[in-house]
Each structure stands twice: as structure tokens, then as C-alpha cells.
């Protein structure tokens, strides 16, 4: 696949405050990439550097193999969907979408055709004459996407575009965005702090924290094989346990040795082990390798959240079956359930 964007050792300082510390990132053609992280992690700054609104303090930005340092935003072949949409209040839906094409002096019939096609794509056919103030949040969002996409950019940058919408609408828009991306075949770089959103839509997730990239990978990689404690805690819920890497495919914690699928750590080194709550199996007492007592059970809708206390620690477990508090149970794990990572502080 072809690289569209290459960020090389990117750093950014604002008034002495470092927000990006040496970012290396390649964005490939046609992929849906998500920059994921808590607020202040530098994800929006990274996006703004790609759009040209900020200049990096250090490092290079290559677009199609060419260094685009100092190229103003209006000369870049990328378009942005802004957090609060930034639709022009003095124009109607049609003129908002047609803005970019008019600037490029596109012929009027071509503009009309393209705008109409875009409105169909975002399910707003017939809304041409509407004043943007008459639109709901979701509709404004669609106009913002159409306004950016109509210019046929090589990359579409989206800065938390669904943040202002309610949960249900957000879920619908997530699916729509993904299908729009597949249909138009444009690279999307999407910024969000919502891990579920990232897992739902992305081909590649870039987890960021403190201006540093923590992990780059597919949603399954990020979820199943978090590289460090931050990623494990940020994506989904997890039990993080300190253990020892005995040798390849074998780890020890809670005085038990478990087979695992990880290799490549040093024999005998300290590691962090991630156990997803839904992966831990509860068995009748005497049938598993870890014994404990159910101390609490909370109904969460689709599942129960159960706390099982052992001699050494408490485990958080998600299950659809009900267990009476006070019940003695055993826990067990298969090699696939165990995710080994470098201990905190060494990444």
C-alpha cells in the first residue's frame, strides 16, 4: 500500500509546553486511521499539523512523499471536518457544500451535480435551500462531512466530529461514516477519545498519551495485545496483574504457572499481565487453578460484573450467569486469555 502521510519525528511546543514528543506515523492510502487518547494527549495537535493549521516545532511532514512544511492549509489536498462543524452561518446548505468548488472556479453545472450527489451520499437530498441554523446536530454534521468530501481530498481529517451528538445518533453516524469511507475510498484520519468509537470504525488505531504514541495496531491487536498498561487501561476494562515471564509461552502469577501465546520477553523478567473481565472463566470450586470467593455482583444490563476475592487479589469478571455473593468458586484461563506486556514505566 502507498503511504499518503508520513510524520517523521514530529514535536510541537506551545509557549514552552511540549504537546508532541517525537511522533512517527505513516498513514496509508484508503485506510481509516483513528488517533485515540485522553484529552491533552496531542491527538488534535497532530491532526492540525496535518491540516496545516499548526507548524511542527521539529520534524517533517511528508505528503505523497513531498515535504509540506510551510504549505498553507488552502494549498493542501486535505479537508477537515471540525469538532463543532464550523458551517458558515451566512450560507445555506447548498452554498456551504459548494464553497470549496466555487473557490476552485468549478463550472456551475458541475458544482450542482457534485453537491447533489454529496447530499445523497449523506442522506440529505432535498435540503439544499435549508438555513444551517434550522438543522439538527446530526444534520449539521452530515453537511460538514459533505462540504469536506465534495472537494475529493486525498485525506479527510475528522476532529472528534461526533462528540456533540447523543449516544444513539453517534452510533448511527459511526456506521454511516464507515460506509461513506468505504464508498468514496478516501483515507480518513479520525480523532477521538472514545475507545468504543475507535474500535468500531478503524482499520488502524493509534493510541496516544502525553504526546507520545503508545501503540499502533488494528482494533483486535490493540484490544487483545495491549503493549503497555496505559493502552490496556484505556481500551476496555481489564485486570492488570504483575507476574513473571518464566520462558516463552509460560508466565507465572498468583503462584500458578499459565501457558500463554506470548514470546520474546526475557526469561524470568517482570511483566504486566492483562486479563479482560469477559475472558476469565468461573468454575465450580475445585475445578480451576485459582480459588476465591464471590464478594459482589452488579447487574450491568448485558452482563453481571462480579468481584472474586482470592488470597492475593480481587478479580473483576464479566459473565452472563448469576453467582450468589459468598459462594466459593474457582477461576481459570486459557492461553488466549492471557496478554503479557512490558511492565509500567519501561515504555
Amino acid at each position: 500500500m502507498k503511504k499518503i502521510f508520513e510524520l517523521d519525528n514530529l514535536s510541537k511546543e506551545f509557549d514552552g509546553q511540549v504537546v508532541l514528543k517525537g511522533i512517527h506515523l505513516d498513514v496509508y492510502e484508503n485506510e481509516f486511521m483513528t488517533l485515540l487518547g485522553p484529552s491533552g494527549c496531542g491527538k488534535t495537535t497532530t491532526l492540525r499539523i496535518m491540516a496545516g493549521f499548526e507548524e511542527p516545532s521539529e520534524g517533517k511532514v511528508l505528503f505523497d512523499g513531498i515535504d509540506i512544511a510551510g504549505v498553507p492549509p488552502y494549498k493542501r489536498e486535505v479537508n477537515t471536518v471540525f469538532q463543532k462543524y464550523a458551517l458558515f452561518p451566512n450560507m445555506n446548505v447548498y452554498d456551504n457544500i459548494a464553497f470549496g468548488l466555487k473557490i476552485k472556479k468549478t463550472a456551475a453545472p458541475v458544482i450542482k451535480e457534485k453537491v447533489t450527489r454529496m447530499l445523497e451520499l449523506v442522506n440529505l437530498a432535498g435540503y439544499e435551500e435549508r438555513n444551517i441554523r434550522q438543522l439538527s446536530g446530526g444534520q449539521q454534521q452530515r453537511v460538514a462531512i459533505a462540504r469536506a468530501l465534495v472537494n475529493e481530498p486525498k485525506v479527510l481529517l475528522l476532529d472528534e466530529p461526533l462528540g456533540a451528538l447523543d449516544l444513539k445518533l453517534r452510533k448511527t453516524m459511526q456506521i454511516e461514516l464507515k460506509s461513506i469511507q468505504k464508498e468514496v475510498g478516501i483515507t480518513f484520519v479520525y480523532v477521538t477519545h472514545d475507545q468504543e468509537e475507535a474500535l468500531t470504525m478503524s482499520d488502524t488505531i493509534v493510541v496516544m498519551n502525553d504526546g507520545i504514541i503508545q501503540q499502533i495496531g488494528s482494533p483486535t491487536d490493540i484490544y487483545n495485545e495491549p503493549e503497555n498498561r496505559f493502552v490496556a487501561q484505556f481500551i476496555g476494562e481489564s485486570n492488570i496483574i504483575e507476574g513473571t515471564f518464566v520462558k516463552d509461552f509460560l508466565v507465572a502469577f498468583d503462584n500458578v504457572e499459565f501457558e500463554c501465546v506470548d514470546k520474546g520477553f526475557e526469561d524470568g523478567q517482570d511483566v504486566d499481565i492483562v486479563l479482560r473481565p469477559e475472558d476469565i472463566k468461573i468454575l465450580p470450586s475445585g475445578e480451576g487453578r485459582i480459588s476465591g470467593v464471590v464478594t459482589s455482583i452488579i447487574f450491568k444490563g448485558v452482563h453481571y460484573e462480579i468481584i472474586v476475592k482470592t488470597d492475593i487479589r480481587e478479580y473483576k469478571i464479566h459473565t452472563t450467569a448469576y453467582y450468589e455473593p459468598g459462594l466459593e468458586v474457582d477461576l481459570d484461563l486459557t492461553p488466549d486469555d492471557i496478554h503479557v506486556m512490558e511492565p509500567m514505566g519501561t515504555y
Binding site: P73, Q83, L87, F99, K104, N151
Partner: protein
């Protein structure tokens, strides 16, 4: 809630005594003339007819001309100034806005006297010209001096609303315009200027209205007897003592001002709710209203 409504009663009384009553009196004076004794009035429209004499109409037209010129120059100077201030750091903006506001804290009479001493025959400018070997210029008691005085006094009222509308603008709209390929000049005319129009209209109103009815500045810097409509009205009341005619002229001016305001507000409404952004559309509607 109902109890609190009673609290507006004193305000209503004040409003009636100080605003409504004097205005009613002006209307009364305008449509009457004295007949014999002071206490008997006769209704008439002759006061209005009397005004439509070419000499008086010329005064009105001149007032509008100078008012428009003042407003135009205030806009041409004020917009760039407001724009430049809006681009500064926030702390710098506060200081600059303060500097623009400070002169308005001083009495208008004082500020205008200062211009008299600058422009007069032996004033600052002429002294400087003489010392450099040039001949004296007649600066004071000209239309130019009046316009200069009005610009100086009214320009803060142009700068402030434009500055406010520029700083209230969502910065991401400018970025969105750049993002869609518009360069800074295109962005200014297609986005920034259009979104600051409400500030521009407020500024125009706040400069044009006092400018056409101003009488202190033309009196001090213009010198002439009937230089502008404001002076004309003042003279009718104070020098001539014809309150009926003065009131009628006041009413004519007030009606013209009300029409002007209505047009401005109508235009503002159009620009705010502009549904069709085709070139000239807003102006077309403006013209249509004028015809009515």
C-alpha cells in the same frame, strides 16, 4: 413575579414625563400655530409646508451629505483599525480599546474646542506652516473642519461594534474557509467581512444618526449661521423663537431618521437570515423596500 411588575411603575412615570411628554409637545407645537392670545392654538400644516422652501431643503441635503461623508470615512478608517485590534493579543486588545474609549470620557465641548485651537488662524497647524515658510491656510469654519470634528468624535462608535463582531466570530470558520481552499483575501471577503456586517451596520447607525443632527460641532468648527439642520432647529428655538416651525423641522428630521433606521434593521435582518447568498440579492431586496 407579579409583585415585581409593580417595580416598573416609577420607570414608566419617568419615561412618560421625560420622553413621551416632550415628544407629544413637539408634535403639538408642530401641527399648531399661535392665534392671537398665547393660550389659543390653531391647528395647521403650514409649518411643514414652510420647510419645503429650496433654502431650507438645501440645509437638509447638506446635513445628509456631510453625515454620509462622515460615516463613510469613519467606516473606511474604523474597519481596518477594528480588524487590526481584533488580531492582537487579548491583553493588547484591552489597552487599545481603552485608548479609543478614553477621549469619549472628556466632554464633547472640550474636545471640539481643542480642534478650534489646532485649526484656527493662529493655531497649531498654521503656526507650523508659517515656521516652515508656507502661507496660512483657512482651516477653521469650513465643511472640512466640521467633518473632521465629527469623525474625531464619532469614530469610537464605529470601531467598537465592528471590533465586537470580529472578536465574537468563531475562529474555526476562518480555518474552515482556509481548509476549503480559500486564501486569506478570499476568506476575508467571503467569510470575515460578511459575518461582521451586523457590527458594521450598528457602527453606521451609531455614527450617521448623531452626525446628521449634530449642532455643537458645526457651530464651533463650521461657524456659519445655518450650516446644518441641527443648527437650524436650534436657531428656531433659541434665536428666532418660532417653536412651531422648529418643532415641525424636528419632526421631519425624526421621520427621516426613523425611515433610515427601519431600512438598516430590515437590511440587518436580511443579512442575518440570508437564505440565498447570490450576489446582490440582499441589495435588491434593500432597493425594493426603498421603493415602497
Amino acid at each position: 413575579m407579579k409583585h415585581y411588575r409593580k417595580l416598573i411603575i416609577p420607570y414608566v412615570i419617568f419615561l412618560f414625563l421625560l420622553t413621551v411628554l416632550p415628544m407629544l409637545l413637539i408634535v403639538l407645537y408642530a401641527i399648531t400655530q399661535e392665534a392671537g392670545s398665547v393660550k389659543t392654538f390653531e391647528f395647521t400644516i403650514s409649518n411643514f409646508i414652510q420647510f419645503f422652501d429650496p433654502v431650507f431643503v438645501k440645509v437638509l441635503i447638506k446635513s445628509f451629505g456631510l453625515g454620509l461623508l462622515t460615516t463613510l470615512i469613519c467606516l473606511l478608517i474604523g474597519y481596518p483599525v477594528a480588524y487590526a485590534i481584533a488580531k492582537c493579543k487579548e491583553s493588547t486588545q484591552t489597552i487599545l480599546i481603552l485608548l479609543i474609549t478614553i477621549p469619549t470620557w472628556i466632554n464633547l465641548l472640550m474636545r471640539t474646542y481643542a480642534w478650534v485651537s489646532i485649526l484656527s488662524k493662529n493655531g497649531l497647524i498654521n503656526a507650523a506652516l508659517l515656521s516652515m515658510g508656507f502661507s496660512r491656510l483657512d482651516l477653521l469654519y469650513t465643511d472640512g473642519a466640521v467633518v473632521l470634528g465629527m469623525i474625531y468624535n464619532f469614530i469610537p462608535f464605529m470601531i467598537l461594534p465592528i471590533h465586537t463582531s470580529l472578536t465574537n466570530m468563531d475562529q474555526s470558520l476562518i480555518e474552515a474557509s482556509y481548509d476549503l481552499g480559500a486564501n486569506p483575501i478570499q476568506t476575508f471577503f467571503k467569510i470575515t467581512f460578511k459575518l461582521s456586517l451586523s457590527g458594521v451596520l450598528t457602527g453606521i447607525t451609531m455614527v450617521f444618526l448623531p452626525a446628521i443632527s449634530e449642532f455643537v460641532i458645526p457651530k464651533m468648527l463650521g461657524g456659519g449661521q445655518y450650516s446644518l439642520i441641527g443648527n437650524f432647529i436650534e436657531n428656531q428655538f433659541i434665536t428666532v423663537g418660532n417653536w412651531h416651525f422648529g418643532s415641525a423641522v424636528s419632526m421631519i428630521l425624526a421621520i427621516i431618521v426613523i425611515i433610515f433606521m427601519a431600512l438598516i434593521y430590515h437590511y440587518e435582518k436580511i443579512t442575518n437570515n440570508e437564505i440565498d447568498d447570490e450576489k446582490g440579492e440582499g441589495v435588491m431586496r434593500f432597493v425594493k423596500v426603498k421603493k415602497n
